[in-house]
């Protein structure tokens, strides 16, 4: 927990940054949310609040918008995330086997997620490790190494 003073300091800092970067207009909302996420790797509650103040939009509405977008995250990513595409095309090329393989491997500190399409179906199956996508993956140790490494 930050002390009251520190808390105010970091709010003020963020506020100044937002004032510099984004016009006080509701249309800045999504770009500013992206900015928050880039800065903090998720959307912290106090950040949403500061953004709301800056834009003149009630925090609940900023939050309402933020939660409507599937690609913004509202909590700190606690683990290294591995995303396995289990879309139709990737399933054709073995996505399910990859999922089963990874489940069995149960690599420490790794959270396995799925997505419905990674939009690179032509190099299916696709797996993302830490923000990079890899195509034509096979359920073998090279994949496990990639994830561990």
């Amino acid at each position: 927990m930050a002390s009251a003073g520190e808390e105010r300091k970091r709010r003020n800092e963020l506020r100044r940054e937002l004032i510099d970067k984004f016009p006080r207009d509701r249309s800045s909302l999504l770009p500013a949310l992206h900015y928050l996420e880039e800065t903090f790797s998720f959307l912290p509650d106090w950040g949403i609040e500061v953004l709301g103040w800056h834009l003149g939009v009630p925090p609940s509405e900023v939050y309402g918008a933020a939660t409507s977008y599937t690609e913004l995250s509202l909590s700190i990513p606690s683990h290294k995330t591995v995303i396995v595409c289990d879309g139709v095309a990737c399933r054709e090329k073995g996505a399910i086997q990859i999922l089963e393989f990874l489940k069995e491997k149960n690599i420490d500190g790794v959270e396995i997620k799925t997505t419905d399409c990674a939009f690179m179906c032509s190099v299916a199956p696709a797996v993302s490790v830490g923000h990079t996508w890899y195509g034509r993956q096979v359920p073998d140790n090279s994949l496990a190494e990639l994830i561990e490494g």
Binding site: R8, I48, E49, P59, S60, E61, G64, T67
Partner: protein, 894 residues
């Protein structure tokens, strides 16, 4: 009008109707779960589907405009099949075991749908944190009406929204926190629009047997309310009134949930007489005879009366008539003295009339709003919603000027934070920029004002830099605000102010400063502009209009030979006092001096609302006779000799006049509680008795059958309201001036000239000392007093409205975290605040709204502690208002 066909039948509907509007006009039943009659279509429930010739598929009628010649069908096998399918999906969302599904269950039944047994979809979240109502997702159909009502549909608060998407969609607050931890104001607008009971009050209201439309008894906004009354003559629910032009279907927490004081067990139900030092029950005859006997001994100069800005116009009119005619006293005043007397004073000097010049719709149409020394979100919540509409929906600019961060700052383009009591300099500084940067309206100045030269001389030395040194507001910000006000992006600019302007020793100077700004830019007398001292009490405008003032008869007809003659003739040819009387604050002094010996106080509680209460109490105790007529036994009543039980707003007929000069009806909703009687009736009874005992022959001057007769007499004597009758008021309120029966009423004043003549008058002031009492080493902090949303003044009423008390049950001492650390008091700690005059205790509340060196305490009395024990009775020399907004205090640990 547009002609269309519904199921083959031709009907005509107004332009811009939706297909759903048309269907509803035609009386054809159709499901419509997400469409609120007073808000825009959402189109979420998909139950209002129809077939339209030439349009593919099944459009939702709520979001389809009705166009000429359209052929619409609301039935048909395929359509019924689809609608039923949608309703079954809808039914699957809710727990059908709940009894109170309101519109939903009616709709489902009417369409022959069956409640689906689709248990896995039931949302379970329940938010019961709010003391008044719950939000239960298990009955929610996600129609979105509540969020719309909280946002742009009505309130522009935005405490709740639809959150998430797909199956995770839900209604909730910022971070899904409990409602009580959000910015929710408990206005209940969401509750009022929910079609399923997912939002419902904790206790289910009993069956309603009648609905009566009347006017909110709290603040000067004057919202329309519709009382729901049960068979046993109890108000069980209060609904908003979409037909009301001031509130447009909105209410705040007090209007919607604050009515329960009416039936509170503490209500005065019988007269009380002090016997052997104790107040004991008495009959009306005993009480009134006693007062008659005692009052007949006093001449006009030793009698004073305080009228009630809570009571009706008719009550006020009778009370001043009684004082003038029977008691021969002009010592008549009311709480406006403690409130907007500086505004009225300044406006009378500069314009010749003391009312708000414009209407709430002007706020909505303005291009720039300046809110100075007013916390409208707390104190005029529904007007504040309309101000937010201007900002959010229409892009109006907002300037807030307040030493304390108020909620409205969230919407502001510019927030100026002057040192308390330095507004004269600030406003002169803005004027300086306007004059020096070519922002003034020379045409207006030339043709419609006087006194410009003298004023501009004064203003010329208030350069932004100089003003910065006095106020602490950056010179650039002053200039920016001046630009924004003088040259709004569209339409005009409105100046809106409150107690932060008036309750200072420079109160009148402040008000003049504001008027000068409006004159120099010509920002009045046209739509979207104007000057608005936001009126406080529900009927403070009307109380003044009705003549409850020491220097004027009804309609601000100043006391002079002509007016005395006019009223004397009208009131039976009797003699009337012809010199102005004392104002409230001077009455207190004259009690001390032994001049005022008897007082008759209705609906006011000076022993909580006056400054320096220890001293005030001493004074009032010196009175030989004190009569208090109220609905509760408050602090002042407790020291009275006779206490008379008045009816509350809910038990009598009459009128209130709100802050936009709109005269609105008040109606008897329930029978008088106990043996209470309407104020006018009590005073008439007393007047007749006095007339008989003193042989004045005035009995028939106080014979009225009902409130309407009083109105007729008053309006006949008061040109500005002559055209208003009870009959006309049946169709909604009318804004004065309304001089004749065909006059539609007046939205804004001063289009062509001013009551004082063709020219308004600039009156310049220099900044004096910021306040009478400045912080010292012993008392290092500045105490700012005012209000909070959930309480009304000293709290006499609101402490007796459970929902309100539950939201604010302790006296909070708001302090900046820096000062908290500096004075080593922690958040939540119970401490003592002391001034030279007294002390109070309360709970420390760290607040980022406060600036170091300043604390804020509302003047409500909670746990026996009230801020006015601390405040200073220094007065503004021009208006005699006390300086409530500044005194020096210190914190002491308990």
């Amino acid at each position: 009008m547009t002609q269309i066909f519904i199921n083959g039948k031709e009907i005509s509907v107004p332009e811009n109707s939706s297909v759903l509007d048309a269907i509803n006009i035609s009386g054809t039943p159709i499901a419509q779960l997400c469409k609120d009659p007073d808000m825009k279509a959402i189109g979420a429930c998909r139950t209002c589907l129809v077939e339209i010739d030439g349009i593919r598929g099944y459009p939702a009628s709520c979001s389809t405009p009705a166009s000429e010649g359209m052929k619409i069908s609301t039935k048909g096998d395929q359509l019924n099949f689809i609608r039923k399918g949608v309703l079954e999906l809808t039914a699957g969302m809710v727990d059908s075991n709940k009894e109170d599904l309101r519109e939903l269950s009616r709709t489902i039944d009417a369409n022959g749908a069956t409640a689906d047994t689709w248990k896995s979809r039931i949302r379970e979240k329940i938010d019961d944190s709010n003391p008044v109502f719950n939000i239960e997702m298990e009955s929610c159909i996600l129609c979105g009406r509540c969020a719309q009502a909280c946002q742009s549909g009505h309130q522009f608060i935005g405490a709740i929204d639809v959150l998430g998407s797909s199956k995770h969609a839900r209604i909730g607050t910022f971070m899904d926190r409990p409602l009580l931890e959000s910015i929710c104001t408990t206005c209940g607008q969401c509750l009022s629009v929910c079609p399923t009971g997912a939002i419902s009050t904790k206790t289910k209201p009993p069956e309603v047997s009648k609905t009566i439309t009347t006017t909110c008894p709290y603040c000067g906004v004057g919202c329309g309310i519709k009382a729901q009354v049960s068979a046993d003559d109890t108000i069980v629910e209060m609904l908003d009134d979409p037909e009301n032009d001031s509130s447009l279907g909105m209410l705040c927490v007090k209007g919607r949930f604050g009515y329960t004081f009416v039936h509170h067990e503490d209500r005065l139900t019988e007269p009380l007489i002090r016997r052997n030092g104790k107040l004991e029950p008495a009959t009306w005859d005993q009480a009134l005879d006693l007062i008659t006997e005692r009052l007949s001994g006093y001449d006009g100069d030793s009698f004073a009366t305080l009228c009630s800005a809570k009571a009706t116009n008719e009550d006020g009119y009778i009370q001043q008539k009684f004082s003038r005619l029977v008691m021969q006293s002009n010592h008549i005043d009311h709480c406006t003295r403690l409130c907007h007397s500086p505004s009225v004073e300044a406006m009378l000097t500069s314009l010749g009339s003391g009312a708000t010049s414009n209407s709430y719709v002007d706020y909505e149409e303005a291009g720039c709003l300046v809110i100075i020394g007013s916390d409208a979100n707390s104190n005029h919540p529904v007007a504040a919603s309309r101000m937010r509409r201007a900002v959010v929906e229409r892009g109006a600019k907002l300037i807030v000027i307040n030493p304390r961060r108020i909620d409205m700052c969230d919407y502001a383009d510019i927030w100026l934070r002057p040192r308390p009591g330095t507004d004269v300099a600030l406003l002169n500084g803005m004027a300086n920029v306007i004059l020096n940067q070519g922002l003034s309206n020379e045409n207006f100045i030339e043709s419609r004002t006087e006194g410009y030269e003298d004023w501009s001389d004064i203003v010329s030395k208030y350069t932004p830099e100089y003003v910065e040194s006095i106020t602490g507001v950056a010179a650039d910000d002053i200039a920016a605000a001046a630009h924004m006000y003088a040259a709004p992006p569209f339409s005009g600019s409105c100046l809106i102010w409150g107690m932060g302007i008036t309750q200072h020793t420079m109160g009148t100077a402040n008000a003049h400063g504001l008027l000068n700004l409006a004159f120099s830019t010509g920002q009045l007398g046209k739509p979207g502009s104007g000057i608005s001292p936001l009126r406080g009490q529900n009927n403070v405008q009307g109380c003044g209009d009705a003549g409850c003032l020491p220097n004027a008869f009804p309609g601000y007809q100043t006391i002079n030979a002509d007016s005395v003659e006019k009223f004397s003739n009208a009131w039976g040819g009797n003699k009337l006092p012809d010199k102005s009387g004392l104002v409230v604050t001077d009455m207190v002094r004259e009690i001390d001096n032994g001049r005022i010996k008897a007082m008759y106080i209705t609906g006011e509680n000076p022993l909580l609302s006056e400054p320096d209460l220890n001293h005030a109490e001493e004074s009032f105790k010196k009175l030989e006779l004190l009569v208090v007529q109220d609905i509760f036994l408050h602090e002042t009543a407790q020291i009275a000799d006779v206490v008379l039980p008045a009816c509350s707003f809910a038990e009598k007929d009459g009128t209130f006049t709100n802050s936009e000069r709109r005269v609105q009806r008040v109606r008897e909703v329930v029978k008088p509680v106990g043996s209470s009687r309407p104020d006018w009736e009590i005073i008439c009874d007393l007047a007749r008795r006095l007339s008989v005992s003193m042989n004045l022959g005035l009995e028939e001057q106080f014979e009225y059958l009902n409130a309407s007769e009083i109105w007729d007499e008053m309006s006949a004597l008061t040109p500005m309201i002559s055209g208003i009758t009870y009959e006309r008021l049946e169709n909604g309120g009318i804004q004065w001036p309304c001089p004749d029966i065909d006059h539609p009423g007046t939205r804004f004043l001063y289009e062509h000239d001013f009551p004082r003549g063709p020219r308004a008058k600039f009156v310049g002031f220099d900044q004096g000392p910021a306040s009478d009492e400045l912080p010292t080493e012993r008392f290092p902090l500045i105490l700012n007093t005012g209000r909070i949303l959930y309480h009304w003044h000293g709290g006499t009423i609101t402490k007796r409205a459970e929902g309100l008390l539950a939201r604010a049950s302790e006296l909070l001492i708001a302090i900046s975290p820096e000062d908290g650390e500096k004075y080593q008091v922690t958040d939540g700690e119970w401490i003592t605040v002391k001034s030279k005059r007294g002390m109070i205790e309360g709970r420390v509340s760290y607040s980022d709204k406060m600036r170091s060196g300043e604390i804020f305490v509302p003047f409500v009395k909670l746990q026996e502690h009230a801020a006015n024990f601390l405040t200073n009775a220094a007065l503004d020399p021009n208006s005699r208002i006390p300086e409530y907004k500044v005194c020096a205090v210190r914190l002491e640990k308990n």
